[in-house]
């Protein structure tokens, strides 16, 4: 087999590749990659800069004498606040964990019959879910406020946790992925006399791990970053993202701490993505819309 000159390019199984085209595309990719990376590098750089390096002319991407002072300041400011840092952290961890867990269970349970069984109303239900992908949650925000107050969920974490259980995108991706499970697998379980619950829990769920990792990422991505909302007004129930945005609002003197905050908040979703990337891509392979 002929090895490619540039080893990090995939050994091409495809035909008709001109060298000029490859070089051109490589340069274009480099431009886009630098554009995407630059703000992120600046953010990490700023979070490591001492105060006297933050506002200099001309500006620099990297710190000359890096320091962790901004990160220490972040924790110091948070601990001096009226509500302790750990409380905000706990609120966010609780909302994220509970919301994500519920979403994965509820969406998987609903996806299973939609993907693998036949019953009246199936198409209507699935088409409605697809329709829900086509509009944004802002449309339902105002009536949902009324619903929350009727349920007496205003100013409780329930107002953030429970609606996240029924996110449409998660159900859609889960159903599309489950459809690819071989029917013989389920047939075997049926012959063994397994109940629907057993089949779901012991056979379907372990086989759709890529899909629930994907739902986990999407759900965490949304819940972890929840900041100020109109549902919660008690300070001791507010989220980490809200508390950290208050630090960022401290103006230019806090620019370094603000960058540290943003880096800190990024770690959780980015960590999950790194850990589950190949599974997520596998799930996305079945994300296609047929009609």
């Amino acid at each position: 087999m002929k090895m490619n000159a540039i080893t990090f390019l995939r050994k091409s199984k495809k035909v008709n590749r001109s060298r000029f085209g490859t070089a051109f595309l490589f340069i274009v990719l480099l431009v886009f990659a630098s554009f995407t990376a630059m703000p992120l590098v600046l953010m990490v750089g700023n979070s490591l800069k001492p105060l006297n390096e933050l506002w200099i002319f001309p500006p620099r991407l990297f710190p000359r004498s890096p320091t962790f002072k901004n990160y220490l300041d972040m924790f110091r400011i948070m601990n001096e606040s009226w509500v302790p840092f750990l409380r905000y952290l706990w609120n966010t961890v609780f909302i994220t964990a509970a919301g994500t867990f519920g979403h994965i269970i509820f969406a998987s349970m609903c996806a299973f019959p939609l993907a693998k069984r036949n019953f009246p109303g199936k198409n209507l239900i699935f088409n409605t879910i697809v329709l829900a992908l086509m509009f944004n949650a802002t449309v339902t925000a105002a009536p949902n406020y009324i619903t929350m107050s009727v349920l007496h969920w205003i100013d409780t974490p329930l107002s953030l946790i429970i609606p996240s259980f029924s996110a449409a995108l998660g159900l859609y991706l889960m159903k599309q992925f489950m459809e690819q499970l071989p029917d013989s697998l389920l047939e075997a379980a049926r012959i063994d006399g397994a109940s629907q619950w057993r089949t779901f829990w012991d056979i379907v769920m372990p086989n759709v791990k890529p899909a629930w990792l994907t739902l986990m990422l999407l759900s965490v991505q949304g819940l972890w970053n929840i900041g100020a909302t109109s549902y919660i007004f008690s300070e001791e129930l507010k989220t980490l993202s809200y508390a950290l945005s208050q630090i960022m609002a401290g103006g230019i003197a806090r620019a370094g701490v603000g960058a540290a905050v943003a880096v800190f908040m990024m770690l959780v979703p980015v960590g999950i993505f790194i850990f589950s990337q190949s599974n997520i891509i596998r799930t996305m392979a079945s994300s296609g819309m047929k009609e």
Partner: protein, 307 residues
Amino acid sequence: MTGQNGSEKKQKGLRRVWSQHRDDYLFMAPYLILFFIFTIIPVMVSIGLSFTYFNVLELPRFTGLQNYFRLLLDDDIFVLALKNTLLLSVITGPVSFFLCLFLAWLVNEFSSKTRALLTLLFYTPTMAGSAYLIWQIIYSGDSYGFLNGLLMKFNVIYEPIQWLQDPDYMLPSAVVVILWMSLGTSFLAFIAGFQNVDPALYEAGAVDGVKNRWQELWFITLPSMLPQLMFGAVMSITASFGIGDVINGLFGFPSTNYVLHTMVHHLQDYGNIRFEMGYASAIATILFLLMVVTNRFVQRLLKKVGV
């Protein structure tokens, strides 16, 4: 007599369906009940309330189409918001869709490790919650701002530009940030799509006279990942009509001269601040229709790929 028989038959039919599919319905019930409460009912309520005057304290009062007339004829800010929403989505929707597609295609040319690294890089801005606020420092209006500093150092400009406050620059500034954050779910779906094209198709294409990678892309790759394109389009369109928070974070609410005031902002203004729920519902209904109709239209359009 026959009517009674018919309804009896229907009842029996329902009972049979229930006894055969009880487990299926029970499995779906938890999700569907919540979906009903938090998605279906709000849309219905919104459509209903859009024909009323409702200030949350008193009962809604039916006013017919008055809210819609007021929106379109009396509310200059709404007309501006509608224009801005359409402008932003016409720019960012298609551009982000093609950017996702193009970069996914490029990323896919690399070996798996490089591909994983590039995917992570491009997807990170979507995940990183408030990280877009770093653009405040890039766009900062004095010569210490990153962009101004660079441009002044290389003598492109001689005076700092107010990227976030000067109406001439606000729209391009916003578009850049929105595109930076737009390589989301559709990008991942496209990467998966490119990876799953049957290699035999390429070989067959080469035999049939596909000359270069551009023809290969248009005649082989894109048609075989059409379902992913449909999904990606829905994600891009829905996101582009929902632009709001990013603008709040960078440009403030409301932005200078309402230059970047979108329908989402107008909706938040009337729904969360003024509590004019009837009026807010009319805005929500128009936004809802815009999103759904555009999605349907673009899906029609996409079926023309590869022809």
